[in-house]
């Protein structure tokens, strides 16, 4: 994958701009999901992730082959999400999303899918949905660095090393952010946690 990325990047830098479509096609899914996790709706996430691809194209000459293109792109996506946050904050009646108030009612539909468990009864599904909303709201209230580390490592499954590359910090720092984020979530979700396991 990295070799394919490097080859496409070399081609673009040599004047074959159409080869950039390969990179967009390959990474649009992860970039879109990453933006969604920060912004809370796919409409904004689509715009922001596309802006990230355009920014990456403009800065492609500064990309170093020693890094992974995905790591570099994810960093740009996160920066674009931060810019989108700021734009939203400047708008008085901003659309609902991750920049919204603290209450769980304002969390929209939550970030997480319902469990695809055909045996689950209506009661279980309701509990799962409430928990999804509570967790989404609790993640939204995390400090920015903890939120980013938690998303990258726990939600998007990036290894700690790659998450550190995206965040531009040490692996130990990412570990600390993930640990603190988990502790905060534990306090917020205490009433949902039981020995039987998650619903």
């Amino acid at each position: 994958m990295a070799d394919c990325d490097a080859e496409a990047i070399r081609a673009v830098l040599n004047g074959d701009a159409e080869r950039y479509a390969e990179l967009v096609d390959r990474y649009q899914g992860p970039a879109l999901r990453l933006a969604f996790s920060f912004l809370g709706n796919y409409e904004d996430a689509r715009d922001v992730s596309q802006e990230a691809f355009v920014s990456a194209y403009q800065a492609l000459g500064r990309f170093r082959a020693s890094a992974k293109f995905s790591t570099w792109l994810y960093r740009i996506v996160i920066n674009e999400c931060k810019d989108a946050y700021k734009r939203r904050a400047r708008q008085p009646m901003a659309a609902s999303g991750l920049g919204g108030p603290d209450s769980e009612e304002d969390a929209g539909d939550g970030l997480f899918a319902d469990a695809a468990d055909p045996g689950a009864g209506p009661g279980d599904q309701l509990v799962a949905r409430e928990l999804s909303l509570a967790l989404s709201a609790a993640i939204r209230d995390l400090p920015a660095q903890q939120q980013t580390a938690f998303f990258l490592h726990h939600v998007h499954g990036l290894p700690l090393e790659e998450a550190a590359g995206v965040m531009g910090c040490r692996v130990g720092t990412v570990k600390a952010h993930v640990f603190r984020a988990t502790e905060r979530l534990r306090v917020r979700l205490a009433r949902w946690v039981n020995e039987e396991g998650p619903p």
Partner: protein
Amino acid sequence: MDFATWLRRWLLRHPLKEPPAAPRATYTAEVMRQVSALHVPSLTPAPRWLAWPRLALVPLAAGAVVLILVGRSHLPGGSPAGQITADAEVLTALGQPLLPEPGSAGGLEELAQELELADALVLAEAPPTDEEWVAETLHLLEELDEEPAAGPSDTAVPDEWLEELELLDEGELGASS
């Protein structure tokens, strides 16, 4: 079950919501439409302001080290070997002889005489030894008809001695003048 494990299990069962179904080609085409309006990027070299200070600092640091070493070797308070070398250079420049040759007996005798003379001068200027000081003190006590102190623990007597010695000195000075 600890919370971290519980949370991981929950996230496995409830992954992030999937984006609404939309053709991937549409997304890519939209990006490429924006990209096509831009200039084709080209490889930019690393900024020179990042590279040149480090390269320039190497000869600067080396030059500074050489200057410090040379400066230290020419300081007056340098090593004894350096001082001897410097003194020898000055003497040679002034046409003065250096140390006598090891084989020349005359030079050595002159040097020995100079050293004895210097020792004699130092001895003449040396302060009196303890024995002489004690003898003088006892002599003064005899003149004053005083008994010497009983021991070092007697602290009142030395003060009286000092006062009397000062009075005696003043009397002698007055008589001599």
